[in-house]
């Protein structure tokens, strides 16, 4: 503890030097926390945009084209899984919209509006009209509506796969947030889809799920696939079909880690060199302490403590700085939802302290090896 007291005194008596080291650590960790939180927020919002409004896990029949029988056991199994947040049985088919000479393919999904909202948030994305999916009603995407001049109340003829056609009334135009979806998605009543597909009331094309941790979808899918209630069904999840996106996220993370690594390296070098200078400046004091009987390890610990105190103090300020920056940026109204990432921030703090302590190895060893005679003889 004497080492700690001496370390604290050395720090207090060189306020400028101590302040500089602490500021170096604070800025390093601040950048770290800010950058890390920014990247994580960015990725979360990107992932959310990409798959937040689409099923992350899909349960369908193993035999292609066969419906899934949505039994009570199946429902209980799916809803009972702790990682699953939303369960939406849907019916899906392709249809062709014709207007004069022109035509456009549509992916039609049938279901209850309330249920569909839990995944697609149709009601929340309406740009015109009011979402409703009673029998004979349809909700279409913005780009599709614009292309064909459709507005709420318009009649729409859909040609089904079997060649028959029927008319639906547009109730709402929605913005799915992606051009492809805005051009090709359409939603109809569950009963309409059942009739088109010839499915019984408890038969569906697939059951769509959302999970609370989107990157945990693989585990959820595997666990569900192993359930007896899902025998004869296949479970797929979004990551297997989005390798490009995942690759991009991975690349982004890597480049962010690289930047963070070099920031930390710069911080470490800064601390190490400043501590080394400080160790040289305190050579006389260390020599005197050793002449008076301080042991090598105790003397070496002085700089360990200095680094720990500076590291903890600097990193704490850095965390504060980073969080404040993130909050300020979040206020300034960006399109992505910025928020401090506490887990990452905690790791950054620990890393900052660890880097500081590691940087003290050289001065500590120097100090512990110092022979008091060098100081005593030097006068």
């Amino acid at each position: 503890m004497l080492s700690l007291r001496i370390a604290a005194r050395f720090l207090r008596k060189s306020p400028v030097q101590s302040g500089l080291i602490a500021a170096g650590i604070a800025f390093g960790i601040g950048v770290q926390v800010f950058l890390g939180s920014l990247i994580i927020s960015l990725q979360e919002s990107l992932v959310d945009e990409t798959i937040g409004s689409s099923p992350q896990v899909t349960v369908s029949s193993a035999a292609e084209g066969e419906p899934v029988t949505y039994t009570e056991v199946l429902q209980r199994t799916l809803e009972g899984h702790p990682g699953v947040t939303t369960v939406v049985p849907t019916r899906a088919y392709s249809a062709i919209y014709r207007q004069g000479d022109e035509s456009a393919p549509l992916q039609v999904t049938g279901g209850e509006l309330q249920r569909l909202d839990t995944i697609y948030d149709l009601s929340g994305r309406v740009t015109a009209g009011e979402a409703s999916l009673e029998a004979g009603e349809v909700v279409v995407g913005r780009d599709f509506a614009a292309e064909f001049g459709l507005e709420p109340g318009a009649r729409l003829t859909l040609v089904r796969p079997d060649g028959t056609a029927d008319d639906e009334t547009v109730t709402a135009v929605v913005d799915f947030g992606a051009a492809a979806a805005n051009r090709s998605l359409a939603f109809v009543a569950g009963s309409t889809a059942a009739e088109v597909l010839g499915q019984e009331p408890d038969e569906y094309t697939a059951v769509h799920l959302q999970v609370d941790d989107v990157f945990g979808s693989v585990a959820v899918a595997d666990e569900l696939a192993a359930e007896p209630a899902l025998e004869g069904l296949t479970v797929s999840e979004w990551q297997a079909e989005n390798e490009d996106l995942l690759g991009a996220l991975q690349a982004q993370s890597s480049s962010s880690y690289t930047i963070q690594f070099f920031v930390l390296l710069a911080v470490a070098l800064g601390i190490a060199s400043t501590l080394a200078i400080s160790a040289v400046q305190k050579t006389r004091q260390i020599g005197i302490l050793k002449a008076m009987g301080m042991k090598d390890r105790g003397a070496g610990r002085i700089f360990f403590w200095q680094a720990l105190v500076l590291g903890a103090g600097g990193a704490a300020f850095g965390v504060l700085l980073g969080v404040v920056l993130i909050l300020v940026f979040a206020q300034v109204g960006t399109t992505i939802a910025l928020s401090p990432q506490w887990g990452f921030t905690g790791i950054s703090f620990v890393v900052g302290v660890a880097v500081a302590v590691l940087s003290s190895i050289i001065p500590s060893r120097r100090t512990s090896r110092l022979d008091p005679i060098e100081v005593i003889q030097g006068g």
Binding site: R9, Q285, G293, M294, K295
Partner: protein, 297 residues
């Protein structure tokens, strides 16, 4: 009282590996508890080297130092540090106070290093500071004192752990005559009241004469070891202990000189007279006919 405080046996120190400098060789002597002794000699004769070896700050290249019965050759670095802390007090020419700490904190430091409780040590430090006439300066920064005050603080620090032996290397080298006298008075008082042994390096012969025993070093050898020799120059070999030795012939002034007479300079042409006179005290030294001194090989 049993074991001597310090036994130096055939101590030698050679610096360097390529170019060798023999700073000290064949020095043997014993110091009893409570002795008040000085080491004199010309600049470069090896006084500091000897003191640093005794103080376990440096390691001899030959011979041994036994402190309080511990053969220090066998001790680890930590044990040597502990012995320095418990048994020895150091006063250097430069006060070597820690500028980051107050007077009281400086004085308490050896006690804290030894693991003592802060409260007890503070009380003792205040007492020692009082003894040295430094009351009221406790909370001052070590930098804010005069040279004489700094040196007295350094002395207080050296005394804190109640060492059996205080080693002082030119403790008044940076002080004026008034402060010098005050410091030696203090040493005497402490010696008398606490029974602390002192070994004081000085090149001031007037100072040396006020000590009870004078060890003279010349060219790295112990050339004289006398007790009260100059107080009664008529009796050149007055000494009590078995380790005590006769002074050099030329060190005994040729009759009738006053006790205040300074010690004769260790022969300016030291290499020569040694050839005919085994001028040295202590075992081992006389076995070596050649007085190398700081021989550069």
């Amino acid at each position: 009282m049993g074991e001597p405080l310090l036994v130096a046996e055939d101590l030698g120190k050679t610096y360097g590996t390529e170019v060798k400098t023999v700073a000290l060789q064949g020095v043997s002597f014993t110091l009893e508890r409570g002795e008040f002794a000085s080491i004199v000699g010309q600049s470069g004769s090896g006084k500091s080297t000897l003191l640093n070896l005794i103080g376990l700050l440096d390691t001899p290249t030959a011979g041994s130092v036994a402190l309080d019965g511990h053969d220090t050759r066998r001790l680890s670095g930590n044990d040597r540090a502990r012995l320095r802390n418990e048994l020895l007090g150091f006063v250097f020419q430069f006060h070597h106070l820690l500028p980051e700490f107050s007077v009281l904190e400086n004085v308490v430091m050896p006690g804290l290093i030894g693991g003592g409780s802060a409260a007890t040590l503070r009380a003792r430090a205040v007492e020692v500071l009082g003894l040295l006439g430094l009351d009221g300066l406790e909370e001052k920064n070590a930098n804010q004192l005069s040279g004489g005050q700094k040196q007295r603080v350094a002395i207080a620090r050296a005394l804190l752990n109640r060492p059996a032996l205080v080693l002082a290397d030119e403790p008044t080298g940076n002080l004026d005559t008034v402060n010098t006298a005050a410091v030696y008075d203090l040493f005497r008082t402490i010696h008398r009241e606490l029974g602390t042994a002192f070994l004081i390096v000085t090149h001031d012969r007037a100072v040396a004469q006020q000590t009870d025993r004078i060890l003279e070093v010349a060219d790295g050898r112990l050339v004289q070891d006398v007790r009260d020799a100059y107080v009664s120059p008529a009796t050149p070999s007055p000494v009590d202990g078995d380790e005590a030795t006769e002074p050099l012939p030329e060190a005994s002034p040729s009759g009738g000189e006053e006790a205040t007479e300074p010690l004769p300079e260790a022969s300016p042409d030291g290499g020569e007279h040694a050839a005919d006179e085994p001028a040295v005290s202590g075992p081992g030294a006389h076995e070596e006919p050649e007085r190398g001194g700081s021989a550069h090989v």
